[in-house]
């Protein structure tokens, strides 16, 4: 694809009371510039992923604001909104801009500042990712949509709450190894099963948290990438697909068709099979979402994702490392930042710089970023 990652940066995720989105964004960009040994003047264009600063901070017109505070005033700057897949949408458009031949070096960032609002208002804000006329109107919530997917998956394949819980336990363990993660404590299956219900059958520990955070990537055309780094991470596939925003109009309630289409396209583009992927950062906004992701991406057969998680096949040292960062579940889910943060983690892993959570010998990594309950799916594949 002739595009490489040459710099990465990510802030601490969590409830960061004293930081606004512009400060978080500037911090992530600063890390990425230092990582690439670049100055702001080297950047030619800016792509910002953000879901809804409009509702979280009453702030629109986000891209120039972010660019300005990050020392990139004057550059073309555009914000991308695709619900929880906003970050990967920004990344994809940064890649497309380089492939167009217009730019050699661009900055992709993602940011969300969620914790200024009380939980009920965050729930309301997130629900705009669903179909307002036919889903939100009857009282559905975002956890509710995934709960209905979980119930359908349980009825169809016999997936259990214990299997869902094993995803949360694994991701908390990985988050425990990641100093930037929102949660850095281990939990056990009992704790997940005994937590208060959010949307039956999903409880509190089946859900990703409400987090603040930002991440940034510097992309360069391959032929200039080596000027800035000895370890460029090559982007070998970028794919995207869509489906109905409303869950009830989908062909399947147990898999995400858009993710399956995007995966097929991505594997073809990269010339690799699912078996060759060493690690994947997947969109585990809820525990069931990770199980379905591992099936949609072809790592396991439909219905085998639950048992695979329970048997430890998705641990850092398992057959396929899923969410070594801790995932959305434990690393945190600042919505519009997530897709960019996933790419940061895969880049760090492929460089071999992930410390205690390093997937040994990682050569090929994948990111899977989903918007809403599956209406947007964006997949990227990276090689060292």
């Amino acid at each position: 694809m002739k595009v490489a990652v040459v710099g990465v940066g990510v802030t601490k995720f969590g409830k960061l009371e004293n930081k606004t989105s512009r400060e978080l964004f500037a911090e992530a960009v600063d890390y990425a510039l230092k990582d690439a040994d670049m100055a702001p003047k080297d950047i030619e264009s800016v792509y910002v992923g953000n879901f809804t600063a409009d509702l979280f901070e009453h702030q629109g017109h986000l891209a120039p604001l972010m660019a300005d505070y990050a020392g990139l005033r004057g550059l073309p700057s555009t914000r991308f909104e695709s619900a929880c897949a906003s970050g990967a949408a920004a990344l994809r458009h940064g890649i497309l801009a380089i492939l167009s031949g217009l730019y050699d070096i661009v900055l992709v960032g993602g940011v969300e500042k969620m914790t200024d609002l009380p939980t009920t208002e965050v729930t309301d804000a997130l629900s705009i990712a669903a179909d307002n006329l036919f889903e939100a109107s009857v009282g559905a919530t975002f956890p509710g949509e995934y709960a209905m997917i979980a119930k359908a998956h349980m009825d169809t394949y016999g997936t259990t709450r214990e299997q869902l819980a094993s995803v949360a336990v694994k991701n908390h363990h990985n988050g425990f190894l990641n100093p930037k993660a929102h949660f850095q404590k281990e939990i056990d299956v009992e704790k997940v099963l005994n937590a208060p219900l959010i949307a039956w059958p999903l409880g509190l520990y089946d859900c990703s948290p409400i987090s603040d955070g930002a991440a940034a990537l510097i992309l360069a055309r391959e032929d200039v990438a080596r000027k800035y780094t000895d370890t460029p991470i090559h982007i070998v596939a970028s794919s995207q697909a869509s489906d109905t925003v409303s869950l009830f109009e989908r062909d399947s309630l147990t898999s995400l068709k858009a993710a399956k289409i995007a995966a097929k396209t991505a594997y073809e583009m990269a010339g690799v099979s699912s078996k060759q992927i060493n690690l994947a950062e997947v969109h585990d906004c809820f525990t069931i979402a990770e199980i379905i992701a591992t099936e949609d991406l072809g790592f396991f057969q439909p219905g085998e994702g639950g048992p695979a998680a329970e048997q430890g096949l998705t641990q850092i040292d398992g057959d396929i490392a899923i969410n070594p960062s801790g995932g959305l579940k434990a690393k945190g889910h600042p919505v519009g930042c997530t897709g960019v943060a996933q790419a940061v983690e895969v880049s760090i892993q492929l460089r071999g710089e992930a410390g205690k959570r390093q997937v040994s010998g990682a050569e090929i990594g994948l990111t899977h970023n989903i918007g809403g309950s599956g209406a947007t799916a964006i997949i990227h594949i990276f090689r060292r």
């Binding site: 629900s127 956890p143 959010i198 309630l253």
Partner: protein, 128 residues
């Protein structure tokens, strides 16, 4: 309202008035709900409103314990995806049963009927 108003707003107004109606395609007899500009089978835009039986089957459901602000006083409540006998699927409240016994009552594929509720929200109840 005019008889040729095949809009989403008309569809929702029927529901709030306690009626469940769908569009019937004049060309291929396909039933469409919620309304779309064109028939998803044949592409025609010639429709008439028809009464739907309200008979349906439950495909999946959840119990909402942390509701949106607007429905805060109503939780816990059930939301489900139903498949109407006429074909279309809808997302709706599931009411008219003891929510504490939801796992026994809302078995996979249980039969439901359209049940207008005072709030005007689309609702179905189990046939028990």
């Amino acid at each position: 309202m005019e008889t040729d108003d095949f809009s989403i707003k008309r569809f929702l107004k029927y529901i709030s008035e306690g009626e469940l109606k769908g569009l019937k395609c004049n060309k291929c007899s396909n039933i469409i709900a919620p309304p779309r500009l064109k028939c998803n089978i044949c592409g025609s835009s010639e429709f008439k409103w028809v009464d739907l039986s309200g008979k349906s089957r439950l495909l999946t459901y959840t119990i909402i314990h942390v509701p949106p602000k607007k429905f805060a006083s109503e939780s816990p409540y059930a939301i489900g995806i139903v498949q109407l006998d006429e074909g279309p699927r809808l997302e709706a409240r599931i009411t008219g049963f003891d929510i504490n016994k939801h796992a026994q009552i809302l078995k996979n594929g249980v039969e439901l009927v359209f049940e207008p509720i005072p709030s005007g929200i689309l609702s179905f109840k189990p046939l028990i």
